[in-house]
């Protein structure tokens, strides 16, 4: 794979403090590469050295094989897309004028290729008729940043730099824009250098993650590699224990469905089918009036003997299904749930009452939970 951007022993000093230390970094072409790390780790400085918004103190930076010290900074920047956290749309210009800015900078003329503008508006999911002639103040933050992305794509640059572009947006909009960025780049294959301090964002959108700490690259790799083999304690801590082993500390009680669908043993088969249809389940737990567990039953048990109208649930229930005790660590029961014939395992209290139900779906849920919680907070 070709490298779009290469850092060779690049350092950056401010006075006596070394911000970036002899950094070697290769950024492959056509991928989303996320620079991630705590604030002050040098990730933004690294990104801004690529378009010479910040000049390196020593070392070489190659963009498409060319040393950027030999390129006029203004020309270099016009050839690289740039998106920032504050969005930075010009409030006195229409959306179309904002998008068409780089060609205007190049030609010095105001005349616009409206077709091109419309094409970009469609690409970022905004209706050209509706938005072309509006002003930034009329748009929501999410819409504004879509324009920010469209503006960066205008001159069809092979490389786009994005400095925490979604950090200031609300969580739902952020998720949407992340999804669209992934979709967009499957289509466009730009080399995107994306800076964030948010590990979730990095894991979600990155083809490659570069973890940085105190001006150095600590680890570079695919998200999966980083998750499976964190290079050191710093990376492990930055990922957070919960992402590495989210399920270790859970008990079955944390995960089970608290109110499973139950049926009394005295019910007829047709009644049981009605319950299953209504609740959209394929199995029922059989309990008596006091909640004492008696067995389970499923559609196949019932349909098998449905024609016999004299039967009730007590006659078709399975009594020797696998059950687990309340309070059992989740790790012990994961294989049971995966192998259970109907895909679920009842959880019983010590005196044999039904406490809840473990399903395969609830396991998926718990593995995803740390992420969901963070989105909500």
């Amino acid at each position: 794979m070709q490298n779009a951007i290469v850092f060779e022993k690049v350092s950056k000093k401010y006075g006596n403090s070394l911000v970036i230390e002899a950094m070697d970094l290769s950024i492959p072409q056509g991928q989303i590469v996320v620079l991630v790390g705590p604030s002050g780790c040098g990730k933004t400085t690294t990104m801004k050295m690529i378009n010479r918004l910040i000049e390196s103190t020593s070392g070489r930076i190659l963009v498409n094989g060319q040393d950027i010290q030999g390129i006029d900074p203004v020309e270099l920047r016009r050839g690289i897309g740039y998106v920032i956290q504050q969005i930075g749309l010009f409030p006195h210009m229409t959306i179309a004028e904002n998008i068409y800015l780089v060609p205007r900078l190049r030609s010095g003329k105001r005349a616009m290729d409206i077709a091109k503008v419309d094409e970009l508006l469609k690409l970022v999911g905004l209706d050209p008729e509706l938005y072309r002639n509006r002003y930034p103040a009329e748009l929501s933050g999410g819409q504004q940043q879509r324009i920010g992305v469209a503006r960066a794509l205008m001159s069809e640059p092979p490389i786009i730099l994005m400095d925490e572009p979604f950090s200031a947006l609300d969580p739902i909009t952020r998720e949407q824009l992340q999804d669209e960025l992934i979709r967009l780049n499957e289509e466009l294959h730009k080399t995107i250098v994306f800076v964030t301090h948010d590990m979730d964002e990095a894991l979600k959108i990155a083809d490659q993650i570069v973890v940085m700490q105190e001006g150095k690259v600590v680890q570079q790799g695919k998200p999966d590699q980083i998750l499976r083999h964190p290079a050191n304690d710093f990376v492990r801590e930055f990922l957070g224990e919960k992402r590495l082993s989210p399920h270790l500390s859970y008990l079955v009680d944390d995960v089970m469905l608290k109110e499973p669908i139950t049926v009394l043993p005295s019910r007829g088969l047709a009644e049981a089918v009605q319950i299953m249809v209504k609740k959209r389940v394929t199995g029922l737990v059989v309990t008596d009036k006091n909640g004492q567990y008696l067995g389970i039953t499923s559609t196949s048990d019932i349909y098998h003997r449905y024609t016999d109208e004299s039967l009730c649930i007590a006659d078709v229930k399975q009594v020797n299904a696998v059950t687990v005790k309340s309070g059992t660590p989740l790790t012990q029961v994961i294989p049971l749930v995966q192998e259970a014939p109907y895909g679920y395992v009842p959880v019983l209290t010590s005196d044999g009452k039904l406490a809840g139900l473990l399903t395969q779906a609830s396991l998926v849920d718990v593995l995803a939970k740390p992420y969901l919680q963070e989105v909500a907070s």
Partner: protein, 218 residues
């Protein structure tokens, strides 16, 4: 009151001529004040170490009583409209200079960052971003300067530059209230009219996108 009306009608050609002079003096002085102060203000945003010194000197000019400033002109430039215009222009410098300087410095830094990152040259940054966004602040400075200059123009008669001050001085010499007012009322009206005119121009040339932004903020 009737007496005043009679004087106004009687002196109408005088009033018109004096008003014409008054406006001409003011507009020429304002023109030079803008021509000097706006580029100097822009320059200071690029050389901010000089800003304190230059703004300080211009503030000192401003604190000189206007009549005294006109007096200082006489030994150097003699009497007539030239020294009056120079004094008036100097007087109008400060508000325009200060507003140009702060207006440009107050432009949202993230916009400059975006502009630089997209490859704007320094000149493009000034013309495309800074001046349009600082324009209303600069314009406010010009309005202040205009009202001040029209006021000072009334004193220009003291050094023989003419204008509505002429009528006022003559009225004082003749102890004739009617004549005094024939100069004073148009001078006051002119100041108010110009201020309103500039307010309208300011609104008219504000880009729609910025008007929207202001509405939202309000």
């Amino acid at each position: 009151m009737n007496e005043l009306l009679l004087v106004l009608v009687d002196r109408w050609p005088d009033i018109l001529r004096a008003s014409g002079q008054h406006i001409l003096l003011s507009v020429v002085a304002l023109f030079w004040a803008i021509i000097l102060a706006v580029p100097l203000g822009i320059f200071l945003t690029r050389q901010r170490k000089l800003a304190g010194l230059v703004l300080g000197v211009v503030s000192v000019i401003q604190t000189i009583p206007s009549l005294a400033l006109l007096g200082f002109m006489i030994p150097v430039f003699g009497i007539g409209s030239l020294p009056a215009i120079i004094a008036m222009a100097l007087y109008g410098l400060l508000p325009i200079l200060r507003n140009t300087y702060t207006g440009i410095l107050d432009v949202d830094k993230s916009l400059l960052e975006a502009g630089r990152g997209m490859g704007m040259t320094n000149a493009q940054r000034l013309v495309i971003v800074e001046l349009p966004l600082a324009r209303s602040v600069i314009f406010a400075g010009i309005r202040t300067a205009t009202v001040m200059i029209i006021g000072v123009a009334t004193l220009a008669a003291f050094i023989g530059a003419g204008g509505l001050g002429d009528l006022i001085l003559r009225g004082i010499a003749m102890v004739d209230t009617g004549v005094i007012l024939a100069g004073a009322i148009p001078a006051a009206v002119l100041a108010v009219l110009f201020d309103l005119l500039l307010a309208w121009v300011d609104w008219y040339i504000t880009p729609q996108g910025l008007r929207l932004k202001k509405q939202q903020a309000a």
